[in-house]
Point group: C2
Chain length 337, copies 2
């Protein structure tokens, strides 16, 4: 296959400021040719995650640094269009870190096939690292017990919505914190959350006190800032606070204010922990199987916000930071053959 392809290169580091248009540069390059044991993938979908801002900043030292001029790193799903690899034939779909480029060559290491009975993009959301993050963070760190009160912030996000539903599956009372009536209605009316707090129109701390008078046993935090602080004020004895994300810091590029109420960890004999999902890589296949089982059993819903057009990759990423995405943010780049 010959010809040119488009790709987005990293062109600036959004440290201490929001992402700007010129942090990315649209570039053209020849479509590469697969060598022995390699395939040529055509990118069909890209998946977006708040952590990508950290990668651009190079603050996230759990992954290799990203250099200016490199293809922007990101998850995606590609279709094999040429194959020199015995395991992959033309037409196969592969999911992995495709990056923001229309074509790429790989030997398949680090790539997975989609789960058979789900739509392919589920690999970017509910059975991808997003869903696995929710599963691992909730169960390994949060250790919810049936009857616990579990609070999830960023609850209408791709990770938060899975974490909350998993806590329901585990027999807990689940309170979601999200911004806006639409998101809150989705949580309680569609996903089965017991309660939702709209932080844009309700004060979080008194509402939590009302909804969880005996305290919060598990807090799955995607937000940080005042929501973390308010929830710390209402934790139960022995509470587990799972720090999954800090969306309140991502667009300003610095840490949100520290939680003044951290000292409640003492009075409540509580634990606050962070994690990196990649540490559990060896368990991904098993966790993925469990998540797919819950989806197929009708117990775990997910929603995707699909945008279109390769040129729109940067502005699709930005949808995560202004809260306009509804569900997992993905971008359709090309139709499957």
């Amino acid at each position: 296959m010959s010809g040119m392809m488009k790709r987005w290169l990293l062109n600036g580091r959004p440290i201490g400021r929001p992402i700007q248009d010129d942090d990315f540069k649209l570039d053209e390059a020849p479509i590469p040719s697969p060598g022995p044991g390699q395939v040529l993938l055509k990118t069909l979908w890209l998946g977006f995650d708040p952590a990508q801002k950290g990668w651009m900043e190079n603050v996230a030292d759990y992954v290799a640094p990203m250099e200016i001029g490199e293809v922007m790193r990101g998850s995606g799903i590609g279709q094999v269009v040429e194959s020199n690899h015995p395991k992959y034939k033309v037409g196969d779909l592969l999911c992995g870190l495709t990056g923001w480029q229309e074509y790429l060559v790989t030997d398949g290491v680090g790539y997975e096939r989609p789960v058979a009975d789900l739509k392919p993009t589920a690999m970017l959301s509910v059975v991808g690292t997003t869903g696995i993050t929710a599963y691992g963070g909730l169960f390994k760190l949060g250790e919810p017990v049936a009857g616990d009160v579990v609070v999830v912030s960023g609850a209408a996000g791709a990770t938060g919505s899975v974490a909350g539903q998993l806590a329901k599956i585990a027999g807990c009372t689940v309170i979601g914190i999200a911004g806006g009536k639409d998101k809150c209605d989705w949580l309680t009316q569609e996903l089965g959350f017991d309660h939702a707090i709209d932080y844009k129109s309700e004060p979080v701390r008194p509402r939590l006190k009302e909804l969880a008078p005996r305290g919060v046993n598990v807090f799955f935090d995607n937000v940080g800032g005042s929501i973390l602080n308010d929830t710390l004020a209402q934790i139960a004895t022995g509470a587990r606070i799972v720090i999954c994300g800090g969306i309140s810091r991502y667009q300003v590029g610095r840490m949100p204010a520290g939680p003044e109420n951290y000292f409640n960890l003492v009075f409540r004999r509580a634990t606050m922990r962070g994690f990196i999902v990649l540490d559990w890589m060896s368990e991904f296949p098993d966790i993925r199987r469990r998540l797919a089982g819950f989806v197929n059993a009708g117990k775990l819903q997910f929603r995707e916000d699909e945008q279109h057009g390769f040129e729109n990759a940067p502005r699709t990423l930005l949808r995560l930071f202004d809260g306009s995405n509804k569900g997992k943010q993905i971008l359709k780049v090309a139709d499957p053959a």
Copy 2:
């Protein structure tokens, strides 16, 4: 025994402000008479702890609330001067929550005899809740492994100095953070700490980076505020942060600023936990035996700052908050018979 005795009553709540002289009221009352199964104790020593401010404020809900007009709560050692109890004879020493009063009556529940081969006041410090706090916090929550770098803040305090020495016994490299050259010299020259950082004359963060270039594995925090935040910036992967105290908040009565760097818990897959030593009450005898063993083996030193005179109880407490105490703050109230 008849006559009058002195006692200090709680007279104000130092919420959001330092402790003031009129938060206590010196009072006289008749010396009580022991009933059947009771003893009359004469208070010989009182022990002081920063947590007492929290008790005065009633923020510490892990203990019964303290009412205005009650005898000020606190640890002490008393000598039996009259006994109607088959287990205790006149002259016996008992340690427990005597409160700030010259005499008291008790049935002995909640009281312990001093450890035989140590001086009695060791029960107020190294083998009392102070030492047990250090032991439990360090080993149960900090989980140090030989070769770890352990940082202790408030390292010259009664709890911190024990925690640091225990970490040395456990084969760790120990860095103490304390205020002033005298305290730092004591840590490194007398107690065997590997390094000491004088936060009054050295910037903590760059010094930690220099002394622990591969990161801090365990942080035993007695201070909070900027020292907690600076140390969070330098934690190693898998670090355990033990929140033992927050002396930086006690005299202002509110939480110290929250640690902005809490999000490093994510990048470092780290854990921050709090505890209340009373939760381990059933293990006190065993822990006390171990601590006494280390003292007798010459591996664990402790120092006491003994003030004199019952009338000086309030100002002796205040020594904890201006950093003027050297070692465990105690007050000698009367000589043993």
